[in-house]
């Protein structure tokens, strides 16, 4: 077993273990911290796959952005030390059964489908990603890039509109 394989299996166990803890722990703040570790593990997987740019984006956006946002909203909306109400046993068992069945079915399909990896150099350096992102010919991604930037603007305005405190006038109505 080479070090390359050992690193992969360690990362896989880390990711799955942390994700399991994140969905089963009953303290919501701890859940957010386990989610943070899961996302760091996924970033490690990207580093292992040699896609450094995606790994960096993952750390910046997910770990640095979304998890911090989630933790802030936990602080704003409830007592972070309080335990969440226990899920009823029936629901937990039914969910576990459905999930295990789905997992087994999906993994059977995946393992029976023959994947034939192409032995070819995979070049995902940032310069190539950048030029492809802004190219306007057939293989470029300039249009989705622009659409996503409009979407981000819309989401930003939407957030402000939703979260803004209703004015006094409206409350009197």
């Amino acid at each position: 077993m080479s070090i390359y394989q050992i690193v992969f299996y360690a990362l896989a166990a880390f990711i799955l273990g942390m994700a399991l803890l994140a969905v089963t722990t009953r303290k919501i703040f701890r859940s957010a911290i386990w989610l943070l570790f899961t996302l760091i593990g996924v970033a490690g997987l990207y580093f292992w796959l040699n896609v450094e740019f995606i790994a960096a984006v993952q750390i910046i956006v997910y770990v640095g952005g979304i998890v911090v946002l989630i933790i802030f909203s936990i602080f704003l909306t409830e007592q972070s030390g309080k335990e969440m109400p226990k899920t009823t046993r029936g629901r937990a068992v039914a969910a576990a059964l459905a999930v295990v069945a789905g997992f087994v079915l999906t993994y059977l399909l995946i393992s029976q489908y023959g994947f034939y990896p192409v032995q070819e150099e995979f070049n995902s350096e940032v310069a190539r990603i950048g030029t492809d992102m802004l190219r306007t010919d057939g293989e470029g991604f300039a249009l989705p890039f622009e659409v996503v930037s409009v979407l981000l603007l819309a989401a930003m305005i939407g957030c402000i509109v939703i979260a803004i405190k209703p004015s006094k006038q409206k409350e009197h109505e």
């Binding site: 994700a19 979304i66 989630i70 192409v118």
Partner: protein, 104 residues
């Protein structure tokens, strides 16, 4: 380079997806459900990168899908948290069972 079969990496992403599903099924707290959705989106991202790297190494489509999914996930999380905070203001709770006005 290909010492790990593709299916083993897909095992991780499938596992992550169904762990997220379990979270969605069992949690009634909106923030926890949002966390489960993030897990599911991450599993999809892993799939895209792995397929791109191992099956179509001459192209970059999977990488771009991943970048756009991460962008949209960030926008989605921001909007969801705005909605959650607004809901908390009107209901003093972020439990999905308390927000039942639109039911049926």
């Amino acid at each position: 380079m290909n010492e790990i079969p593709v299916t083993h990496i897909l095992f991780v992403s499938t596992g992550l997806f169904f762990i997220g599903m379990y979270g969605l099924f069992t949690r009634r707290n909106m923030i926890s459900m949002l966390m489960s959705v993030e897990l599911i989106l991450n599993s999809v991202n892993i799939n895209f990168v792995v397929f791109n790297k191992y099956l179509y190494p001459s192209r970059l489509d999977g990488i771009f899908f991943t970048i756009f999914i991460i962008t949209i996930a960030a926008a989605e999380a921001a909007v969801a948290i705005a909605i959650i905070i607004n809901l908390f203001r009107s209901h003093q709770s972020i439990d999905v069972d308390t927000a039942s006005e639109l039911r049926f």
